[in-house]
């Protein structure tokens, strides 16, 4: 007990909180996070949308936003159309947020072939002409840079093959400094769950509320299957 008292004596001598150790400010959607790598990583390449508008990649499309980015090209007949149709499902599941605090970008890896009109045609064909979903083309060098900056897997077989990247969906929230990726061919629940990991942080009340709802769903499943089965 002596020793405990000894330490107690020092307690009062210490500054209440070290001044440098302030918590990070709460992220505000729309404002880039203090740790955001900004255009240093994303680049401010000038790209063209399927509506033939010029945009800067970081400043106009990413800064302070939660975004989903994938690579595609209009003439792709393998995985791209299926992935695009999957992304349509993802879009529909999140359509309340799309264009407001969540944005989807599809960048062509064949900018030589895909001009804005070709992208517009592709989007139209796949039912992807939706608010908040932008198809992008630009200078081949810029797009190659973006592909390597955002989609590099340190895997030679994947990184050197421009078509290899079509199976990644990059999830970035520049306001919370989240950056993840998911295979859009994974189940819809998995894709949505990964996107939710980059959501703006919930308040404690929201967390409790969500947890309560989850418990109700688990209880329901237990009555049917005997244990937590599908969630």
């Amino acid at each position: 007990m002596k020793r405990r008292g000894f330490l107690k004596k020092f307690r009062g001598d210490q500054p209440a909180e070290p001044s440098a150790a302030k918590p990070l400010r709460a992220p505000v959607q729309g404002v880039p996070h203090v740790g955001s790598p900004g255009p240093r990583l994303f680049t401010n390449a000038r790209l063209r949308t399927h509506e033939n508008k010029e945009v800067r990649f970081y400043d106009d499309l990413i800064a302070g936003k939660q975004v989903l980015i994938n690579l595609m090209y209009a003439t792709c007949e393998g995985a791209c159309p299926l992935i695009t149709s999957r992304l349509v499902k993802v879009y529909d599941a999140l359509k309340d947020r799309m264009g407001k605090d969540l944005f989807m970008y599809s960048i062509t890896v064949k900018p030589e072939d895909d001009d804005p009109a070709a992208l517009m045609h592709y989007a139209h064909m796949h039912g992807a002409l939706k608010p908040g979903w932008t198809f992008l083309t630009g200078d081949p060098y810029d797009i190659e840079t973006i592909r390597y900056r955002l989609f590099a897997m340190d895997h030679i077989a994947i990184d050197t093959n421009i078509y290899g990247h079509t199976s990644f969906l990059k999830i970035i929230n520049d306001a919370t400094n989240h950056s993840l990726h998911v295979d859009p061919q994974a189940s819809l629940t998995t894709v949505l769950w990964k996107i939710s990991m980059a959501n703006p942080p919930m308040t404690q009340e929201q967390i409790f509320e969500e947890n309560k709802k989850l418990q109700e769903r688990i209880d329901k499943e237990r009555r049917i299957y005997g244990y937590r089965m599908t969630i």
């Binding site: 020793r3 405990r4 330490l7 020092f10 307690r11 210490q14 909180e17 070290p18 440098a20 150790a21 302030k22 918590p23 990070l24 709460a26 992220p27 996070h33 740790g35 790598p37 393998g78 995985a79 299926l82 999957r86 955002l150 897997m153 994947i158 290899g164 199976s167 990059k170 919370t176 400094n177 989240h178 950056s179 993840l180 998911v182 295979d183 061919q185 994974a186 189940s187 819809l188 998995t190 769950w193 990964k194 990991m197 942080p201 919930m202 404690q204 967390i207 409790f208 969500e210 947890n211 309560k212 418990q215 769903r217 688990i218 237990r222 005997g226 244990y227 937590r228 089965m229 969630i231």
Partner: protein
């Protein structure tokens, strides 16, 4: 140990509270030690919590990450830090009291605890996942970490069989972070015989502000068959005892990042055979057993660091937002780079744990023999993955086994008898295969090698023999350590189920880890069919698709056993996949390798047997991590007992499991359930043009 730097870091109220608790711990530990002998003389640094100062939530300054990846981590001087011993977790009385059903709103949603009344937990712990700082080396400034109770390694939990425990894992991770960690968690006790809702299933993740009670029955597997057993009335089959566990974050798709940040710790179990003392008691094997003194966990890990940042008093770990855990150039033992440990001329038990995140270790012990320095010396393996070997195995220059492999997440308990050295000599734990030929980066210019043929960069840690034993040495290691339970039988008429890895160009690794059914006429076509039948492009949904925590791809019946084949078709020299199976230990029957390397499958005729190592042979050992290099096939038997629910089989290279190299399988309780679930899986497979997984007679 040096008694300085106590107030080196600025302290919050909370950290002082922690220190006060640490003071109590130390006293208790010394008391414990005094009972066992003159422990204090031998005692290395008992507590690390002084240096890895923890702060209250939200007050640890977030890291500023360096980018791009530095060519090397900062230099360090080898062997200046004493090996820290992770502090011992102190039992507590939890408030609110743990309950069978989830304690909403504060507890994470879950199923009710199974066997709760039967194993009402009598010991409770609180481990809080939160940010902290930790010094990885004397020459380093503090690094930002996430750890349990804010420290790395987390506190060690010491438990005994027959005494059920409950660990409340609380998530106090920062609401927003500059690190690459994700502030959700789920904690797996690797490889506890644990009910699904307490097993840290990857999808059972929970948010900050919540806690989750993991209920550990601390009984041997086989509770249903064996009931309580003499001598101590512990339930289950005593031959199923496991001793060395570790607990770690198992967050779906983000396990590597959170573990790299430090979210893991040691959990040890004791029983009459392996008690926490060394004097003779009934049934005791009398292995070195005093925690932190003669029985020392070595949590092996890898890290890479940013340049020192004196302005912020930090040497941050290198992390890249949006990327997996990086390739590393510093090897860390119990949170220190190249530490040293003072030992005496007697036996010690080291519980080596590969805490990952990606690479296997391949270890040997080197020291002087007579006047010749740098000779390989003997280590004796007594247990792997927490399971005692039937016959202990030597790793030495003459035993036929010169290397000891520890794949990620695997544990190997070795006895080193330092009486083979003289006072004043030093021995070295050496890693042999990572980053050949130099190993980790030490400094430029590279310091002198400790002995000819042992590059300094290859040394994990140094043992300094400082004197004769003060606690009497333990007797010779018994030649038989345990009886193994009988080999689980393969159900008649049931073919082995096969878990296979392939590399599909352009697809992430996880897309290629699948279950299929091997047949008795095992041939190339069959495998090609079963592997390529899954086409992720045309069949993105349903069984056989990429991992989904809400979907099981295989269902087994509680109380039965099965034969499984783990198969890696990636070419030799490709990734070695350390496969981990939850819930149960398995027994390896056979290891084969393809002698005509082919990425599309291998004819049975082209498979040749590879002799099993004594610490993987199913007749001598039980495993929960199976090391499967390219072109290898492992045939194992495994039995599913005592608990129902959802479990995992996955590659424990954490970057791989995060890429969904993972499959969920379920244990159900009745034949009717089994039949219904298996029919459903068959239907889903047939609907997408695949072969059914189960034959008619396997439907139950």
């Amino acid at each position: 140990m040096p008694r300085k730097k106590v107030k080196e870091n600025k302290e919050s109220e909370h950290s002082k509270d922690l220190k006060m608790r640490a003071t109590i711990t130390r006293r208790e530990v010394l008391k414990m030690g005094a009972a066992a002998g003159a422990v204090t003389i031998l005692s290395p640094t008992i507590l690390t919590s002084r240096k890895s100062t923890a702060y209250a939530q939200g007050t640890v300054e977030e890291p500023i990450l360096c980018t791009p990846q530095p060519a090397t981590s900062p230099a360090h001087v080898p062997f200046v830090d004493d090996l820290p011993i992770p502090s011992i977790a102190i039992p507590t009385i939890l408030n609110p009291q743990p309950t069978k059903n989830a304690n909403t709103p504060l507890e994470a949603a879950r199923d009710p605890h199974q066997r709760w009344e039967e194993f009402n937990p009598s010991i409770q712990y609180l481990l809080t996942a939160k940010a902290g700082t930790h010094r990885f080396h004397r020459d380093y400034l503090p690094s930002y970490i996430w750890g349990f109770n804010g420290q790395y390694p987390g506190p060690t939990i010491l438990n005994a069989y027959g005494v059920p425990s409950l660990v409340r894992f609380k998530n106090d991770l920062p609401a927003t972070t500059l690190s690459f960690g994700k502030n959700q968690t789920t904690v797996h006790l690797h490889n506890g015989h644990t009910a699904s809702e307490s097993d840290g299933f990857a999808g059972d993740l929970f948010n900050r502000g919540l806690f989750k009670d993991n209920h550990y029955v601390n009984a041997y597997a086989g509770i249903d068959e064996f009931g309580s057993q003499p001598p101590l009335g512990v339930k289950g089959d005593p031959r199923e005892a496991m001793y060395t566990f570790w607990y770690h974050d198992h967050l779906l798709a983000e396990t590597a990042n959170n573990n790299y940040l430090g979210m893991n710790g040691v959990y040890l179990m004791y029983d009459h055979k392996s008690p926490p003392w060394e004097f003779s008691t009934p049934g005791s094997l009398r292995l070195p057993g005093i925690y932190g003194v003669t029985d020392i966990p070595l949590l092996l890990g890898i890290r890479r660091f940013c340049p020192h940042d004196p302005a912020r008093n930090r040497t941050e770990m290198f992390q890249q937002i949006g990327s997996a855990a990086p390739a590393s150039d510093k090897w860390v033992v119990n949170g220190k780079i190249q530490p040293k440990l003072s030992v005496r001329r007697r036996k010690y038990r080291f519980r080596m744990i590969n805490s990952g995140v990606t690479l296997p270790w391949d270890l040997s012990l080197h020291g002087p023999e007579g006047s010749v320095s740098g000779q390989q010396r003997r280590m004796t393996i007594v247990a792997v993955d927490g399971n005692l070997l039937r016959t202990p195995a030597d790793v030495s220059a003459t035993s036929g086994f010169t290397r000891m492999d520890i794949p990620v997440a695997s544990r190997t308990d070795v006895i080193i008898d330092f009486s083979m050295f003289s006072v004043g000599q030093s021995a070295y734990l050496v890693e042999n295969t990572q980053n050949p030929p130099v190993g980790q980066f030490v400094a430029t210019p590279t310091p002198a090698d400790p002995a000819p043929g042992i590059p300094i960069g290859r040394v994990l840690m140094r043992f300094d023999i400082i004197g004769n034993a003060t606690i009497p040495d333990t007797p010779a290691i018994p030649s038989t350590l345990t009886d193994l339970p009988p080999m689980p039988a393969a159900a008649p008429g049931v073919d082995p189920f096969e878990w296979g890895f392939r590399f599909i160009p352009g697809q992430p690794d996880g897309n290629s880890f699948r279950i299929s059914h091997s047949t008795t006429t095992d041939d190339n076509t069959q495998h090609t069919n079963s592997f390529f039948a899954f086409d992720p492009v045309t069949h993105p949904e349903g069984t056989g698709g990429p991992f989904d925590p809400g979907r099981a791809d295989h269902v087994v019946l509680k109380g039965t056993s099965e034969e499984w084949v783990i198969r890696n078709d990636t070419l030799a020299g490709g990734w070695l996949h350390p496969v981990h199976i939850h819930l149960e230990e398995g027994r390896i029957l056979e290891r084969t390798v393809c002698n005509t390397p082919s990425a599309t499958g291998c004819l049975d005729a082209n498979r040749v047997n590879v002799p099993l190592l004594p610490w993987e042979d199913g007749n001598n050992s039980r495993r929960d991590v199976y090391s499967v290099p390219g072109q290898h096939n492992l045939r194992i038997r495994i039995k599913f007992r005592d608990f129902k629910g959802r479990y995992l089989i996955h590659c424990h290279n954490m970057n791989h499991e995060d890429a969904f190299m993972m499959v969920r399988w379920d244990v159900v309780e009745t034949m009717a359930e089994l039949r219904q679930r298996r029919e459903q899986i068959n239907e889903e497979r047939v609907a997408r043009g695949d072969t059914p997984l189960y034959r008619k007679e396997e439907l139950g």
